[in-house]
């Protein structure tokens, strides 16, 4: 008979006041729980951003299951194929043959010719010492008119160098072929979601006579290849930075890392860097800041002293956001995060100093499975995990900052907070949809 095992109220191990929390990993690494919030993107969603590309995953059935159904839920199985590794392959060590012949078989059976293949290998290839360069070399010989790139589903490596997510975001641009750089052309790279065109980056670029492209603007492979002509790549996510560094080394595109922030000074500084790179005088941001202050005041009148909780999936800078809200009178009552980005160090220190009792909850710690998932008063959650753990129907359904950046990003987020606070959402239904914004149903 099913019943809630819970009733557990002792939060020790799953919650720490931020004043007592170590940085950047507040909690011990133990068994992991995975809650039902599924809005963050995975490597299948991200790979599909390359237009006219076909994804092929080679791994064990258990690992294929999640990625196949991700593609199926995107209604994209016609761009997705698999090669299943079985026990005999591990025992016989015929991993190279399986990969080469498997990809060949799939490409011969496809009813269309993809411009590119994203070939995802797995932990097994890594551990068995599969000769991947040989495999790619053979495939390029066999299919000279198809571009191949190496992608990885090897989560066992997530604590060794670049994570699969970083590798995937780097892989997104690995197919770009060197071409002459266009001094007036800029790309924004590393994002799953497109950047809101209202943000100041676009205004500054327009003023300086530059054009900005993102992979989301590229509806065919040729357009995608034109990104190789950008003289500057902007990146504002830590997980995208490795891709930018690779492009800088390979194609000579200057990487401009302009981290997302909710701090006026930091935003002014990074936008100033951008303007200077483009050779224009940074605008006076006082009007933008005043508009943010107005928006904050307005949001505060709507939300009042209701509890506000924030999770790390909503934005890459949850601590910066918490600081902004707390300094403007919002009642931020909890953060949900298992670790923090190095960019958050100053915000973390500020919160420790000014709000040491602010609770930080883990999201994967085993007790989170049984701790009560409800709150006694109307709570505004920013992010799906925050909504799940508080049981709140009032939540901002957003991942990866939603593409909202800069001063305009702050204003947009505040309007989303107001809207979320006033209109109930079907939390159960919405948060279980995979890859928010990728077209999954």
């Amino acid at each position: 008979m099913l019943r809630r095992m819970g009733g557990e109220t002792d939060t020790s191990g799953a919650m720490l006041p931020i004043g007592n929390a170590p940085f950047p990993a507040p909690f011990r690494s133990e068994l992991e729980y995975s809650c039902s919030a599924r809005g963050t993107w995975n490597i299948v969603h991200t790979g599909f951003l390359v237009p006219q590309a076909h994804e092929i995953f080679a791994c064990a059935a258990g690992c294929l299951r999640g990625v196949v159904l991700t593609a199926a839920e995107m209604n994209a199985l016609d761009r997705f194929s698999t090669i299943e590794i079985r026990e005999n392959n591990v025992l016989e060590g015929d991993m190279e043959d399986l990969l080469i012949e498997g990809v060949t078989d799939i490409l011969h059976k496809l009813p269309y010719k993809p411009r590119a293949v994203l070939l995802y290998t797995s932990c097994i290839h890594h551990f068995i010492g599969c000769d991947l360069p040989l495999c790619y070399s053979r495939l390029r010989e066999r299919f000279p008119d198809i571009d191949f790139t190496d992608c990885y589903m090897n989560p066992i490596m997530r604590k060794s160098g670049l994570t699969p997510d970083q590798l995937m975001r780097r892989g997104l641009y690995a197919l770009l072929k060197k071409r002459p750089l266009d001094p007036q052309r800029i790309s924004i790279i590393g994002n799953n979601l497109p950047t809101d065109k209202n943000c100041e980056l676009f205004a500054i670029a327009e003023q300086a006579g530059f054009s900005i492209t993102e992979i989301h603007d590229c509806h065919d492979y040729e357009k995608y290849q034109e990104m190789a002509a950008s003289s500057v790549n902007i990146c504002y996510q830590p997980v995208g930075k490795a891709g930018g560094e690779a492009l800088e080394a390979r194609l000579g595109q200057k990487l401009l890392y302009l981290p997302l922030s909710y701090d006026y000074d930091e935003i002014s500084r990074v936008l100033g860097t951008f303007a200077a790179t483009l050779g224009v005088t940074p605008p006076d941001w006082s009007k933008e800041i005043a508009a943010c202050e107005d928006a904050l005041r307005h949001a505060k009148t709507v939300i009042g002293s209701a509890p506000v909780v924030i999770d790390y999936t909503a934005t890459m800078r949850p601590l910066s956001l918490a600081k902004l809200l707390l300094t403007h009178g919002f009642n931020v009552t909890a953060l949900y995060a298992d670790s923090f980005s190095g960019e958050e160090k100053d915000d973390f220190a500020w919160l420790q100093a000014h709000y040491p009792a602010l609770p930080v909850y883990a999201t994967v710690q085993v007790k989170m499975r049984v701790l009560p998932r409800k709150t006694s008063e109307k709570t505004l959650a920013i992010g799906q995990k925050a909504a799940y753990f508080t049981g709140s129907p009032y939540f901002v359904n957003m991942v990866e900052c939603g593409g909202y950046y800069g001063f305009s990003g702050i204003r947009k987020l505040l309007s989303l907070m107001e809207e979320a606070f006033l209109e109930e959402k079907d939390t159960r239904k919405l948060i279980q949809i995979k890859g928010l914004g990728c077209g999954c149903v």
């Binding site: 039902s36 258990g62 999640g66 090669i83 026990e87 995979k434």
Partner: protein, 382 residues
């Protein structure tokens, strides 16, 4: 064989099968995996995840732990979680990398049990088999460990339902209707392994006369209970009127003590059903029984050949499946099989959680008492 799938899905893996089978029994299951199995299981393989707090976790094994063979961290983490959550039992299941490094799950379970005093199991799954195999291992483990006491038989003929998971029965009432379909025919149900009954109820299994293996996930437990208590088993899933034949087999098995697989004559099939072995054979029998149209069952998950009819077969890959579908008048299968089916065949959608997960859940019919969903679709063929 290229082991490729140009377009079709893949079945839930053995490790998720362990989780699914044990979900309602009050234990704690740990998947020894780096990442990925957790979200795959709770997103695509487990419809009960959002509403019910079963304890299923991931070890998060890292490259260095795998290279160094660091089982101590796994054991330490399991013990820590068990001390916080007090499960009835602990199950540890494997994935590809633990298989490659030769992880001894039984030994780890023994150490965990010694440290916690909680009954613990190790299941050497590796993510390379289907859920049927993992669930079968898990239910066999429960039978071995918790069903120990010989009990007097019930007065009426009774059964245990073995191999009931949402992966084959979804959450549409099918699991509950197994019970009513049998009770209407004078067969009582002692226990359901394992949807709807708790561990204490499963421990009453020896009081049943017969085990009804309703999916191949129940076969491991059936064999344990046969060996330990001499309970015969009937391998069949109730579907519509064909349940009458199953009940005859149950009565015969109770009387003779012989295990059996009821079967209709399907020597020259003109149609195909693809899916889990026992379900497919049973549905093929049921459709043939009710319509006279002979149907071939294609078992896409593990099953003993002896449980299949003469025209039935096992096939898993696209390359194996596609020739079997040529010339079929109609094909009953999960919608994600449709792209590889010949256009000349009428395709009857039968969504299966174990193949397409949650995508078509709302379409999954409960055909326990009535297969008109299929017979009407057949009758509508032009």
């Amino acid at each position: 064989m290229t082991q490729t799938a140009r377009i079709i899905s893949t079945y839930t893996a053995d490790v998720s099968g362990v989780n699914s089978a044990l979900f309602e029994l009050g234990g704690m299951t740990v998947m020894h995996d780096a990442s990925g199995c957790n979200s795959t299981y709770n997103t695509h393989d487990e419809p009960r995840w959002y509403d019910h707090d079963s304890l299923v976790f991931l070890s998060g094994i890292s490259e260095m732990e795998a290279i160094m063979g660091d089982d101590d961290k796994l054991i330490r983490d399991i013990v820590s979680a068990a001390q916080q959550l007090h499960p009835r039992f602990i199950a540890i299941a494997g994935t590809p990398i633990p298989m490659m490094i030769g992880t001894d799950f039984r030994a780890i379970a023994a150490v965990v049990e010694r440290k916690t005093g909680i009954p613990s199991f190790g299941f050497a799954t590796n993510g390379m088999h289907t859920y049927v195999q993992g669930a079968s291992m898990a239910l066999a483990g429960i039978a071995e460990r918790f069903v120990t006491e010989e009990l007097p038989k019930t007065d009426d003929i009774s059964v245990n339902l073995l191999g009931v998971t949402p992966l084959d029965f979804s959450v549409n009432g099918s699991a509950e209707h197994l019970r009513t379909a049998l009770e209407q025919r004078g067969i009582s149900v002692v226990s359901n392994w394992a949807m709807g009954d708790d561990l204490e109820t499963l421990q009453k299994a020896p009081s049943a006369h017969v085990n009804l293996v309703v999916s191949y996930a129940g076969m491991g437990a059936a064999k344990v209970l046969r060996k330990r208590f001499g309970i015969p088993y009937v391998t069949a899933r109730p579907y519509g009127d064909w349940t009458d034949t199953i009940v005859e087999s149950i009565r015969l098995a109770a009387k003779n003590g012989d295990s059996m697989e009821p079967m209709t004559g399907r020597i020259n099939p003109s149609a195909v059903v693809i899916g889990e072995g026992v379900s497919s054979v049973s549905l093929a029998n049921a459709v043939t029984y009710e319509t006279g149209i002979q149907v071939r069952a294609v078992a896409a998950t593990e099953i003993e050949r002896s449980k299949l009819g003469v025209s039935d077969c096992m096939a898993r890959d696209e390359d194996e499946l596609m020739p079997l579908l040529q010339g079929a008048e109609f094909i009953i299968a999960d919608p994600l099989y449709e792209p590889i089916c010949p256009k000349t065949a009428k395709f009857i959608r039968l969504p299966h959680e174990g193949f397409s997960g949650r995508i078509f859940r709302s379409e999954i019919p409960d055909m326990t008492e009535d297969i008109s969903y299929i017979t009407q679709a057949i009758a509508g063929r032009s």
